[in-house]
Every structure is written in C-alpha cells, then in structure tokens.
Symmetry: D2
Subunit: 128 residues, 4 copies
C-alpha cells in the first residue's frame, strides 16, 4: 500500500465548488508512479526496454466531493496481477471518509503498443 | 445522439505523445452539456430549481490513443434513464475508429447533495 | 487576424466560479495553432525540418472573468515579427468586452533548442 | 521566501515532452497559497471578510523546460506591496537552474470585484 498526502488547490476545483471529476485521475497517476518507484520500478527505464504500462480501463466511483484547501490521502495498491496486466485499486480518503475509489487496469505493451507478458523481474518485484 | 467535432491541441496531450487519459472526461462533460442543451435543458436553470446532476460513476475503456492535431468526434447518448439517475454512453471516434468509450452515471441531487427523483418535465424531454 | 469561437465548460472553471487563470493560455495555444494553419503552416511539418516555435515569454492581463456557459472569441494576430521570434497578440472577447489580453513571444528553435532565424518561406507567409 | 518541493508527473507534460506552459501558473498558485498560509493568512477567511486577491497580471519567462520525473522547487516571495495590490515573484528551480520565472500581480477586491485597500492587519503580516 502506497500513500501520498496532498492538499486541494484552486486548480483542482471547478465552478461547482468541488474537485473537478477528471482530476482524480491525475491523483491516481501519481499514486501508481509512487507505488512503482517505491518498489524500484521506474517507468522511464521500462521505456528503454521498450515496455510501457498503459491505462486500458478505469472504473471510478465518486462518493463524496473534495473541496478547496482540504487535505487528503491517495492510497494505491495492486488488486490483481495478470499475465500482461495489473489492476490497481486507488482510494482518495479525507481522514476516515472515502471520497473516491477506482479500479484502474494498466496493460504492459511493447513499442508497437501490443500487449506483452509482464517481464519476470518486474513481476517478482510486484509480488513482494 | 449528440455529436461534437473537435481537434486535439498540445494542452490535451502528455509526454507519451498521446491524449492524457483524464482529458477524455472533459470531452464527455462537453458531450453531456451539449446533449442537455439540444433538448432545451440548461444546467444553470436546474440549479435555480436546486437540482443538479452529479457524476457518481464512470467506466472508461481506452481503445486507441488520440494524438496531436487529430480530429475526432464525441458521440453522446442516453443508455438508461433511472428514477434518480441517467447512464450516458459516450464514444470518442476518429473517423470509423473507436478511440475511447465510457458509461457515465449521473445522479439527480438536491441542494443537500441527496439523490432525488428526476423531475417529470425533465424526464419527458429526455425520453423524446 | 484569426478568430475562434468557444464556450466555457466546467473543466475551464475553478471554485471561484470563473475561468481558472492558467486556462486562458490553452485558449491562446489554440489561437496560435489556428493562425498558423490558416496560413498553411503546420507545426508538425516544421518539426520534420527540425524547427519548432517555443514560448519564451507571456504577458497576460486579466480584465474581466469569464464564467460557466459564457460564449467567447479568441482573437489572434502577429504584433511583431523578429529575426528568430514572433510576438503574438491574443484577445479573449465576450461580445464587445475584453476579458483577457496577452502578448506571447515564441522563439524559433532548432532540435537542440537553440534560437535560429525563422526560415524565409515561413517569414514570407507570415508577412502576407 | 516560501519554498515548495515537487515532482513532474505525466499530467504536467505535453506531447513536446516537456511541462505544458500553462501548468507553471498552477505551481505559482500553490506558491502564493503556501506563502500566505505560512504567514497565517487563509484565503477562505478573507472571503468571509468579503475580500479576495485576484490575479490581474502575469509576466512569465520560460527559460529551461522541465521534463517528466524531474524534481523542482517553487520559490515565492513578495516583490512589491502596493495599496491594493501585491506583486509576487515566483521562480521554478531545478537544482541551481532557473527554469521559469514570473511576476504575478494580485489585486485586493471586495465582493463586487472592485479594488480595495489591503486591510492593515494583512499588510502588517506581509511586511514582516
């Protein structure tokens, strides 16, 4: 489980007074990046091996809106590790309140954007 | 079915050379807004009646990435009309290619953010 | 003078109820792109010649905030054509009201990001 | 002088491989907010006094592009304190390299968006 602590600024919000619904996906990107980095996986090094993880699917539930200046936490963990894909589970929490939850499926692709098996060294690290 | 024609600019893209994955949700917002307006429903007038449609759920499938300068179309239709909710089906098409597809559930809420029945006059218009 | 007509959506706004101040720079990017394209200059073709125009300076005056659903126009023209740079003048108008104005200096650079003289064929087209 | 340390994610970048030029203004917003908060000034409390600081002018110089995964610092200080306005000086630094610099003028306005004198208690705090 990887945790990032952040705060809402004006640029995250919309005229409804709450965080704009697409901006949670930016938080989830940050969550996945930090999850990988903590395990020692760097997306820029994967690119040198001509491998990348691209988002194929996102299922997002909006529970409770976040507002300007509120502090929150992005929780990221792996729910399922497939042959060529990973399903991440992301949660945006304000204290004990679940604000937004998402399952995001990333697929391991080669430089022609075709799905390939996740390399064994990466898989081993992710299982740990 | 509502259609909007647009073009990708730099501000839509990321360093991967393609449209950043959260930006499709901005396109879908535009799609829903234009769908409503074509039917004569204006979100700012609903607010005067203390009613709003808020996104509760989004299921997005990323099929084929859009790139800088590409022209595309946002197709929006209603898939399901519930008592208090609407499920929109959005498609982002580049010519005949489906780039991204989403089911987005919006819920009709009052000014305390509690779900309420969609007013009959709105429902009638949406059935047409 | 190049003109683009647009409408404000939620994704353009912030919790202050108005367009977020950085989003005008997205409108100006669209203005410059369409200005170039109308003259037959395509940034992706310049890249093949290993030339690009990059923003070096922006001076923006915020006059009157734009709000949700408002329709506006982005006006773009060239104020000054230098050896290696172009100064664009952008205006965001709501009917007769000037909402935002900017002078944006772009510099012609090679593939090592060093400033180079604007190619003569491009300069001729821009003078027209 | 207020300093914030951050890292570039995909959502900050564009297809040119660098941070999109409008996103620096988001960094500057964060800089100003943290500058104010460190001094004990909270924009949401100013709003209760029907006072707000709105951006009237921005002069930005883009020196060196930031790229994906790069770590950087946002430095914020006050350059000039006027009767009704504050000029902030923001710098985005990557180690010792100045990437972007901006002078951003915010004006103190009342709830009718008319400029008003900065309240004395706020002015005293800012002079410290």
């Amino acid at each position: 489980m990887e945790s990032i602590k952040k705060k809402i600024y004006y640029h995250d919000t919309d005229a409804g007074g709450v965080v704009y619904y697409s901006n949670y996906l930016k938080f989830f990107e940050e969550g996945r990046t930090e999850y990988f980095e903590k395990k020692g996986i760097f997306t820029e090094e994967l690119l040198k091996q001509k491998i990348a993880f691209v988002v194929a699917k996102a299922e997002i539930e909006y529970k409770k809106p976040l507002r300007y200046k509120e502090k929150f936490e992005i929780l990221t963990e792996i729910e399922r590790l497939g042959n060529a894909s990973i399903v991440f589970l992301h949660k945006v929490m304000k204290d004990e309140t679940l604000c937004c939850q998402a399952k995001i499926t990333v697929v391991c692709v080669n430089d022609e954007m075709s799905p390939v098996k996740i390399p064994d060294n990466i898989r081993k690290i992710l299982w740990r």
